[in-house]
């Protein structure tokens, strides 16, 4: 059973990690709590649905193509809804909630509340230590690792990464050093939304596409980010697997209470916060950057 739990943890945690890393990135850099993050993930899922089911395009093509329009929408949203009120964090929070709701209502209007599906990139499953795992889930796990690596390379090995880290550390000093702080924030927003869209593209075949599909991942993603430490990418990644583990534990140990898996995961988050209010890696990450 332990093996089953561990494998379920890795699979469930990967999707949360993919979402949480992008969310954490934009918060760490621009202090933007982007509630619409998972709405962009939902938007990507709808793009893939439309491309594959309505236009008859190849799933791979749609998945790659979905990232572009969604990222553009994300950037436009930033430019027109978030940037003008960026200094007021509370207002940004409310604006992104409104943005998410608007995206939800538009999807509801265009596609109704019907539950839709998109094809997997890879069909079938593989036995791993006696546990059946769909190839699409293995792909999600692999992508989560690659994305983390890519984000790490972007932040630590590129000039853009240096600018992002500098801005995250001290906006005013970064400005004085000649960096366009607003532009860096916008690029970070693009990367963050791109990550959300990419997650949508990878996870959509595992999910049910509907206008409300952004809500549950949002709660779990927020829990992951708070647990890992707001703004800590490493913390988000580890937090995602901790909550994934909690969920798997509930399903295997309390089958009658499987519906409680989300609540138990959130309770663990609260417990950790009571002991360590800054989250698991909040301070460590501050020091790193």
């Amino acid at each position: 059973m332990l093996l089953d739990i561990l494998i379920s943890t890795l699979i469930n945690g990967s999707a949360y990690a993919l979402l949480a890393v992008g969310f954490s990135l934009i918060f760490g850099v621009a202090r933007i709590v982007n509630i619409a993050h998972t709405a962009f993930y939902m938007l990507a899922a709808y793009c893939i649905y439309y491309g594959t089911q309505k236009l008859g395009l190849e799933p791979v093509l749609c998945m790659l193509a979905a990232v572009i329009p969604v990222t553009l929408i994300g950037l436009l949203s930033y430019r027109f809804f978030i940037d003008p009120i960026r200094e007021h964090e509370g207002a940004v929070l409310i604006a992104t909630i409104a943005l998410a709701m608007a995206i939800q209502e538009i999807m509801l209007l265009l596609f109704t509340g019907d539950f839709l599906g998109v094809p997997s990139l890879v069909e079938g499953y593989r036995l791993v230590f006696g546990v059946k795992i769909a190839y699409q889930q293995l792909l999600t796990f692999g992508v989560a690792l690659v994305v983390l690596l890519a984000v790490w390379v972007l932040l630590l090995k590129t000039r853009l990464g240096l600018a992002i880290r500098s801005t995250a550390q001290d906006r005013e000093v970064a400005n004085l050093m000649g960096m366009n702080e607003s532009r860096v924030a916008m690029i970070t927003m693009g990367v963050s939304v791109g990550l959300a869209a990419f997650t949508g593209a990878v996870v959509a075949p595992l999910a049910i596409v509907n206008p409300f599909m952004w809500m549950h991942p949002l709660i779990m993603m927020m829990a992951v980010v708070v647990l890992g430490g707001m703004g800590s990418i490493k913390g988000s990644f580890i937090g995602a697997y901790i909550l994934g583990f909690a969920e798997a534990l509930v399903v295997f140990l309390i089958p009658m209470g499987a519906y409680l898996k989300g609540s138990v995961a959130l309770s663990i988050m609260i417990l950790v916060l009571l002991i360590r209010p800054e989250g698991l890696f909040g301070i460590a990450f501050e020091e790193e950057r």
Binding site: S8, E123, K132, V251, Y259
Partner: protein, 427 residues
């Protein structure tokens, strides 16, 4: 200036009156509120079934009420009950106070229907339930007839009967496993979403499985909105379950069927999966929902009587999809209500109730429909039974009742075991 102010005042009053919904010809129409989650297939079923009924009645000049013919006017109310029970109660209040409907049909999610039912009862409006299956909704009529007599359940049969059908189906599949695969004591896993109407069903199934010579492998209760159930499926497989008894009414039914198909879980399905009743299920599961089973009211090519197939064909040609059971608002308006009004010659609810209580009417959703003392839909041979179907290679196929109590509807086929299950267990 004064004249223009007066003209403005008249326009303003006219606008307010229009906004308040005071119709000029209110006396000439029968206003029926259709309440349901209109952005979802269940609500669409409510509305589309009602639309067909209203159109057919109106095409014939309306319903004969005493000396005059009255046309039907439908009022759509989006209860949004999947997401908010408050929205549902507000929608019902609006039907009562603003739209001032004469009757209401619809409702789906039990939790919301309980709340909506009380509002309709407060206003003494006839509320014909077309979606919620919880027995308590009708038991209230028996307990407090004076208050709850305005409620009738037109569809589906209550969840106790749903359990009964599911257990009959379970026995059939168990027999098949014995006969075809030599499994003498099948293990049964119950997987039911966590919502109120399922709780009594789970208890009944748990109690009956051992009595039927099978073994209970466990009970799993995922959230009704779960987007991933692979952990549950792994656990079910580890428990060596050969039969999975599903009870789903929400999106988790698609997730479960799709992931079980993707992972080729070697088990036979029985039970209820409301989302599987929909044509779009095959696409939503990307074809992985093969062998999924559910109960339904309407299945292509399966007829209760001579009214069923023409209705299904008309519905499909008009709305492009198979009607789900909530489309039995058609029967609620056309036979239950329409025929009762014509018989009574009045729209007086107090006079209609005894007529509906005694009536036995032919409809599209059952060979004949009548109500028990609690105003619940009567279940049994010759009356409402529903159909159990299975997805077989992209098509919904009815497989029960097929000889049960002498009942076989036209168009039934045998149940199929998933080939990967046969491969695993065939000796």
């Amino acid at each position: 200036m004064k004249r223009s102010m007066n003209a403005f005042g008249v326009f303003l009053m006219a606008g307010i009156l229009t906004a308040l919904g005071i119709p000029a010809q209110a006396a000439d129409v029968i206003k029926i509120g259709v309440i349901g989650p209109m952005n979802f297939m269940q609500g669409k079923g409510h509305w589309d079934g009602a639309t067909l009924a209203a159109e057919e009645i109106n095409a014939k000049g309306g319903i004969q009420v005493g000396q005059k013919k009255m046309k039907i006017q439908l009022v759509k109310a989006d209860s949004n009950e999947f997401l908010s029970i408050t929205d549902a109660t507000n929608a019902m209040e609006r039907l009562m106070t603003q739209d001032k409907v004469d009757f209401v049909v619809g409702g789906f999610r039990t939790e919301a229907v309980f709340a909506m039912q009380d509002i309709a009862m407060d206003y003494k409006k006839l509320f014909l339930g077309c979606g919620a299956a919880h027995p308590e909704l009708c038991e209230k009529v028996g307990k407090d007839y004076k208050r709850y007599k305005y409620w009738f359940r037109v569809t589906p049969t209550n969840s106790n009967y749903l359990v009964r059908v599911c257990l009959i189906n379970l026995a059939t599949v168990n027999g098949l496993l014995k006969k075809d695969l030599g499994i003498q004591k099948a293990k049964v896993a119950i997987v039911g979403e966590k919502v109120v109407w399922i709780d009594p069903m789970i208890k009944a199934i748990e109690a009956n499985v051992p009595k039927m010579g099978m073994e209970l492998a466990g009970v799993w209760r995922p959230s009704d909105k779960a987007t991933d159930v692979t952990a549950e499926l792994t656990a079910v497989q580890r428990a060596n379950a050969q039969i999975i008894f599903t009870i789903f009414s929400a999106s988790v039914g698609i997730t479960f069927a799709r992931q079980a198909g993707e992972l080729k879980i070697p088990a036979a399905f029985v039970g209820i999966n409301v989302e599987a009743q929909k044509d779009g299920f095959w696409a939503a599961t990307q074809g992985k929902g093969n062998y999924a089973v559910s109960l339904a009211t309407f299945v292509r090519d399966v007829a209760y009587n001579d009214l069923t197939l023409p209705f299904i064909e008309k519905y499909i040609s008009r709305f492009g999809e198979l009607p789900t059971y909530t489309a039995a608002t058609y029967d609620a308006i056309k036979s239950t209500l329409g025929e009762a009004i014509e018989e009574a010659g009045t729209m007086d609810t107090e006079k209609l109730i005894p007529i509906i209580e005694k009536s036995e009417r032919k409809g599209v959703a059952s060979p004949k429909a009548k109500f028990d003392k609690n105003h619940d839909l009567f279940f049994g041979p010759g009356y409402s039974t529903g159909i159990t179907f299975q997805w077989q290679d992209g098509k919904m196929k009815g497989w029960w009742p097929n000889g049960w109590e002498g009942v076989t509807y036209k168009g039934m086929v045998p149940y199929k075991l998933p080939p990967w299950m046969v491969e695993k267990y065939k000796k």
